[in-house]
């Protein structure tokens, strides 16, 4: 049976895409997001590390743990708008801050990083202190320090210099104060009065610069962008376009795109990913790290370097390889020292990022594959379809088959069909996931499972397929793929999701996405040049009323 979907099927799918994006409605005005609230986002670990590297250089090591932001929904970017700092997190952040500051003032780094030399080794030089702290403070706070803020950290540096008898030691404490400050750790939407007496509040120019930089580069605004913001250039249409063109044209865009897809594909789950060494001896921590990196390299290569159609991600044979990954893919590697481009041969089952080791190993168990987890990942991550949680009252004894441990996956999962409450959801997950059964729990190819041939055929939303290549074609042409990316990118850009106006904006952007051949960069450009990008934020879902605990009013019951 042919591994490919029929030409007729592709035409049907293409028609569905055209209908979904509403190509006939290109002239419709851009819907506006209104009633948005200012937001406060906690820096993610990657952002923190990027900022330290950008401000002080890669030689400064961020050594130590960083309490992660727990993923509450589809994106950590949205969770960041709900996250705060616990006591144990702050303890770690304070330790990190002092460690970074100590490295910055270290004799090996101070000449390059501080930019001035104190008059005396044993006491603070106020001018040098202020010059340094104002300079780095502007990058860390993403705006110039106020006079009061600069006075406070300069005074602290002077006190510490007296206490330690070391001008640089004093400076380190002033820098530490900046690094543990909420002004650094939280990204706040600062507002100002709009033009005209009755105009609503709007984002300040520096807040706009901050949004741009975190969205496109996943880091703090650079000096050029801050200059443009502080000079008012960013508030002009041409100034904004110039900066957007600069940001999109920079190699740093790769950092932003990697962050976006790391979040969208939930690659934070690589933390703690493990495979049983007895079952998968080839899968070690280096493989795990390289598998994650392979996914991100492949994505950024296709979408940024090659400016390919987004949907190409799901049937591309092009990727990159390392010696460690060569063990998993069982292929020769041309460069034994690092990364080298690699293309899977024609007819390979490795087509698309969903067949790379990073994806199939991440979405599997430590000791075996999991069609259910893989199918769920495709539905939720790539199609934005929410698979309902399993019912709370299902009785698994109903299909506990004797010797089930010896059954292969398809046989075991067939048992789900015996329970109606299970069958509905498992049908939409398992059907896709079984197509990946040629890849074991570590992402290695296998022809058989428990000595039996593996049947990887199936049906994906009405499109039959015979193997992973067929699934790749079906996924690439699935009408839900482009809208899902738009939805995720918009939510990532705004750190949240609201229905209504945002959904209309997504539809508008989807049209532009299709017009531009489903290429990522034009989509990013359309988002950041939209007034909606600088709307004051998106209201996040409020937390449930906290349990009242102390002498609460019985009337509240």
């Amino acid at each position: 049976m042919s591994a490919r979907v029929s030409r007729r099927t592709l035409k049907i799918v293409a028609g569905i895409v055209a209908a979904a994006v509403g190509l006939a409605a290109c002239d419709a005005p851009e819907p506006a997001i209104s009633d948005a609230q200012p937001m406060l986002r906690r820096l993610t670990e990657d952002q923190y590390r990027n900022i330290i590297s950008d401000v002080f250089g890669p030689q400064i090591i961020v050594a130590g743990e960083f309490a992660p932001i727990l993923r509450e929904g589809d994106l950590v970017a949205a969770s960041a708008a709900r996250a705060t700092v616990s006591a144990s997190s702050f303890e770690k952040l304070e330790r990190l801050a002092h460690g970074i500051a100590a490295q910055v003032v270290d004799p090996d780094n101070r000449r390059l990083l501080i930019g001035c030399e104190p008059n005396s080794a044993g006491a603070a030089d106020d001018q040098c202190v202020r010059q340094f702290l104002a300079s780095v403070g502007r990058l860390l706070y993403r705006r110039p320090l106020t006079t009061g803020e600069l006075d406070r950290v300069a005074e602290l540096s002077a006190t510490a210099a007296r206490g330690t008898g070391d001008a640089y030691g004093g400076l380190a404490f002033g820098l530490s104060a900046l690094l543990v400050s909420p002004q650094f750790l939280f990204v706040a939407d600062t507002r100002e009065a709009g033009a005209g007496a009755s105009a609503p509040l709007r984002l300040t120019s520096v807040a706009k610069a901050t949004r741009l930089s975190f969205f496109l580069w996943n880091t703090t605004p650079d000096v050029v962008l801050l200059d443009a913001a502080e000079n008012g250039v960013l508030d002009t249409e041409s100034g904004l376009r110039d900066q957007v063109a600069r940001l999109l044209g920079s190699p740093r865009l790769v950092d932003g795109v990697r962050a976006l897809f790391a979040d969208m594909l939930a690659l934070d789950k690589f933390t703690g990913l493990e495979k049983d060494p007895d079952i998968y001896p080839a899968f070690d921590p280096m493989v795990s790290a390289d598998a994650r990196e392979q996914l991100l390299r492949t994505i950024s290569d296709q979408l940024v370097a090659r400016a390919a159609d987004y949907r190409t991600l799901f049937d591309t044979s092009q990727t990159f390889m390392t010696p460690a990954l060569g063990r998993i893919y069982r292929v020769p590697v041309t460069d034994p020292s690092g990364w080298s481009p690699f293309e899977f041969p024609a007819g390979s089952d490795r087509q698309g990022i969903q067949t790379l080791a990073g994806f199939v190993a991440l979405y599997a168990h430590p000791g075996r594959s999991s069609p259910t987890i893989r199918g769920k990942a495709v539905r939720e991550l790539l199609l934005c379809q929410k698979v309902p949680d399993p019912p709370g009252d299902v009785d698994f004894t109903l299909f506990n088959a004797p010797n089930s441990a010896n059954l292969i996956a398809r046989q075991r999962l067939d048992a789900h069909n015996t329970v109606p409450t299970c069958a509905g959801c498992h049908k939409i997950m398992d059907g896709i996931g079984l197509a990946f059964e040629n890849f074991d729990g570590a992402g290695q190819y296998r022809a058989t499972d428990a000595g039996q041939a593996i049947d990887v055929s199936g049906d994906f939303d009405g499109v039959p397929f015979a193997d992973p290549a067929g699934l790749a074609a079906a996924l690439k042409n699935h009408p839900g793929v482009p809208p899902c990316l738009v939805r995720r990118v918009v939510a990532y850009a705004l750190s949240g999701v609201v229905e209504g106006p945002q959904a209309s904006w997504e539809k508008y952007l989807l049209e532009r996405f299709a017009d531009n051949g489903f290429r990522l960069k034009p989509l990013l450009e359309a988002i950041v040049l939209s007034p909606n990008f600088f709307a004051l934020g998106v209201a996040t879902e409020p937390r449930q009323e906290a349990a009242s605990v102390v002498n609460s009013n019985p009337e509240d019951r």
């Binding site: 406060l40 743990e65 705060t84 144990s88 303890e91 602290l156």
Partner: protein, 451 residues
């Protein structure tokens, strides 16, 4: 003076003058007002031994009918998969059964709703959404302010996210996953041996406090324009700052001597994986460290997670996790239960017994640490196979300084599981009248176990 606070408290200015010059402050021994009385049951000052609090979590409940038996009163035994803790039952444990997590029409999110209800007194609106602070944080607010660490969280899964302790505004207290890192935090360079002849405060402490003071000064400006939700998050941040300030303040003072305190050996480097053998080893090491942390009064509150809800622990070289086994392992018709699942359940209680042995072997006055603490042991479900939140078992362990009776089995008669949490908080002195929301709201602690 009590053991709790303010021994030899010095002003920041005085410390700046003295300590920054590198002067060591000599502390004469014995430190009379902090030593034990003749009977060893209290401090010489008359203050009672401090009562500590811990939570211990294991995933996937138990096999109904095995281990926890449906008995009541004192006539019961821990058998089969719970047999490891039977030696502690009479003197230290109470078993709570038939307490429920009433859903009030909400959906039960499997392996999540049960423990969230037990720890927060509220039903979550979906997976990952913590509706209120967990009860350990209220206890920490009540008793944790005078030690270096308000609380210590540990996870034996290798994953920092596997800590079920949440403060206000959803702030997560991540778990320590490396025993060595925990050791360095507790007993590393910043540890001051309470039994040392001299006390030399770290001169940097005062400057670190000054940094935090500079941060706290920003509160007004930052909170002014924030919305209600953001204000709550910022308040939590500034609370964290204050807690660290307090920690530094405690570290600035010479600790009173504590006979049971001995700086332990540093454990080997390494973080456990989800292999049950490694989790058990990590649990054993964490148990030793936390016992000594309590004995050295570095903290009075801890949260130790042995396995996650929906435990992903697995035996080396096997393909099925504890969770998958609980659902898919067939019943062994000869014995009438899931043999491999029961094996994992048994490991949970072997781990718990290891912790209790460690605490019991740490003498304190004429008793042990087990006499002066309360551990609340909780899980996510009753019968994991059916994801049931009906009759979730839980335990109290320890005598809480005489505030708890022991050896009892209490039937909840389908009452809310929040009663167990309220009882624990009341015993620990949290000033709380009632707790929980909707059907989990209760003002009825379980007085049968309160001395």
């Amino acid at each position: 003076m009590t053991l709790l606070v303010k021994s030899r408290h010095q002003s920041r200015r005085a410390l700046l003058r003295g300590a920054l010059g590198g002067a060591a402050i000599s502390v004469g021994l014995p430190f009379l007002d902090a030593t034990l009385n003749d009977s060893g049951t209290a401090l010489a000052s008359g203050a009672p031994m401090p009562v500590r609090f811990g939570t211990w979590f294991w995933g996937l409940g138990h096999t109904p009918g095995r281990g926890f038996k449906a008995l009541e009163g004192t006539d019961y035994r821990f058998t089969d998969e719970c047999a490891a803790i039977e030696p502690f039952r009479q003197d230290y444990i109470n078993y709570f059964r038939a307490f429920n997590a009433p859903l009030d029409g909400a959906a039960s999110t499997v392996h999540f709703t049960g423990w969230v209800a037990a720890k927060t007194g509220a039903i979550p609106s979906g997976f990952g959404r913590i509706p209120a602070p967990t009860l350990d944080t209220f206890v920490a607010e009540a008793i944790g302010g005078s030690t270096r660490f308000r609380s210590i969280e540990m996870s034996c899964t290798g994953l920092a996210k596997d800590s079920y302790s949440y403060g206000r505004a959803g702030s997560h207290n991540a778990g320590e996953v490396s025993p060595l890192q925990l050791y360095l935090r507790l007993f590393g360079p910043e540890f001051r041996d309470p039994n040392a002849a001299t006390f030399t405060p770290d001169p940097r402490l005062v400057l670190r406090q000054s940094v935090l003071s500079a941060v706290s000064a920003q509160r007004q400006a930052l909170v002014r324009d924030a919305g209600a939700s953001d204000k709550e998050r910022l308040d939590q941040y500034f609370t964290a700052v204050r807690e660290l300030e307090n920690q530094l303040q405690v570290m600035s003072s010479a600790p009173p001597p504590l006979d049971a305190c001995v700086r332990p050996q540093a454990p080997a480097e390494g973080t456990p994986t989800l292999q049950v053998e490694q989790s058990l080893a990590a649990h054993d090491t964490f148990s030793k460290l936390i016992a000594m942390a309590l004995a050295c009064d570095q903290t009075r509150v801890f949260n130790l997670l042995y396995s996650q809800a929906a435990s992903e622990l697995r035996a080396k070289g096997t393909t099925f996790t504890h969770h998958i086994l609980s659902h898919e392992e067939p019943l062994d018709v000869d014995v009438g239960y899931q043999v491999e699942t029961a094996w994992f359940n048994e490991r949970s209680f072997i781990a718990l017994a290891g912790l209790l042995n460690q605490l019991k072997s740490t003498r304190e006055g004429d008793g042990t640490l087990l006499d002066n603490l309360l551990i609340l042991a909780q899980t996510d479900t009753s019968d994991a196979k059916t994801h049931s939140v009906i009759g979730i078992p839980s335990l109290t362990i320890g005598r809480a300084g005489g505030r708890l009776k022991t050896g009892l089995a209490i039937a909840g008669n389908a009452g809310p599981i929040s009663r167990v949490g309220l009882t624990a908080m009341r015993v620990m002195g949290v000033p709380i009248a009632e707790w929980g929301v909707k059907s989990l709201r209760t003002d009825q602690p379980i007085t049968e176990v309160m001395a």
